[in-house]
Amino acid sequence: MPAEPAIAHQFEDAAQQRDASTLGMWVFLATEVLFFGALFLGYTVYRLRFPEVFREASGHTLVVVGTLNTAVLLLSSFTMVMAVRAAELKRRLSLAGLLLLTAGLGLTFLGVKAFEYAHEIHEGLFPNASFQFAGADPLGARMFFYLYFLMTGVHALHVTIGIVMLGIFALRALLTPRLERLHTPVDLLGLYWHFVDIVWVFLFPLIYLVGRHT
């Protein structure tokens, strides 16, 4: 079987091929923006309806843990952008190392999140039949925790997919005979990882920081 050419026949040059791939990734991310956007909209509507109880319920989240986890994810975006740089410079070992480091930070984030979930389920804050909330309006608090588990859960699913892809790409970086072919794919994986980071940047204050001043 003949080797696949570096530039597919429909493209003028490598730059155009690369821009087409990036454009396609951004079209996918635009659908993701609307997907998460609908969840943020739902959150906003219920927070407008239950402003007091959302402040109270938010106080039950672990703000120090959440802040440290945000820092872990921001740091992983930095290691990801360094991986993209290593791919462009065709540095095989630093590429594989940085991809694994990014995956490790993602795993740390998930581990901390699992610890938080365990704490909240133990406190009776998971919105199932055993939900317990000692405030004035348990129904509103239930809605906060329903949105909390749904939004952070869908976000964690995205992080999980990212970690799997990072692991696969680290292997590809070590094994591929044509490292230069990995540049665009690593770039696109970076776009995905940064997008997941951006979702968390908005989730963090809306979950952990509501009504901390009261």
Binding site: A30, L34, F78, G190, I198, V210
Partner: protein, 89 residues
């Protein structure tokens, strides 16, 4: 690709904004607490999109698609909230 220095500066700014958003949450700004948090989050997102996602130096067509994605989100938020924020009773 940008120099490592740029990436380090952006990462530093992101950590600075994280500290700022947590600090601001503990100060009573009345109705402006949420607004402040969202402005800081928007600044963080803008830094990530422009520098880490390299949109600053991307092809204009890609930049247009990025803006369109967030613009459509804006339409969804604005039209829905124009209903919920103006209901009486």
């Amino acid at each position: 690709m940008s120099p490592i220095k740029t990436y380090l500066q952006v990462a530093g700014a992101l950590f600075g904004l994280l500290v700022l958003t947590v600090a601001a949450a503990y100060v009573n700004l009345g109705p402006f607490n949420t607004a402040a948090a969202m402005v800081i989050s928007l600044a963080k997102a803008a830094l990530i999109v422009l520098f880490f996602m390299h949109v600053r130096r991307a092809h204009p067509l890609i930049q247009l698609f990025v803006v369109a994605g967030f613009f459509w989100l804006g339409i969804m938020l604005t039209l829905t909230l124009s209903d919920f924020l103006t209901r009486h009773g």
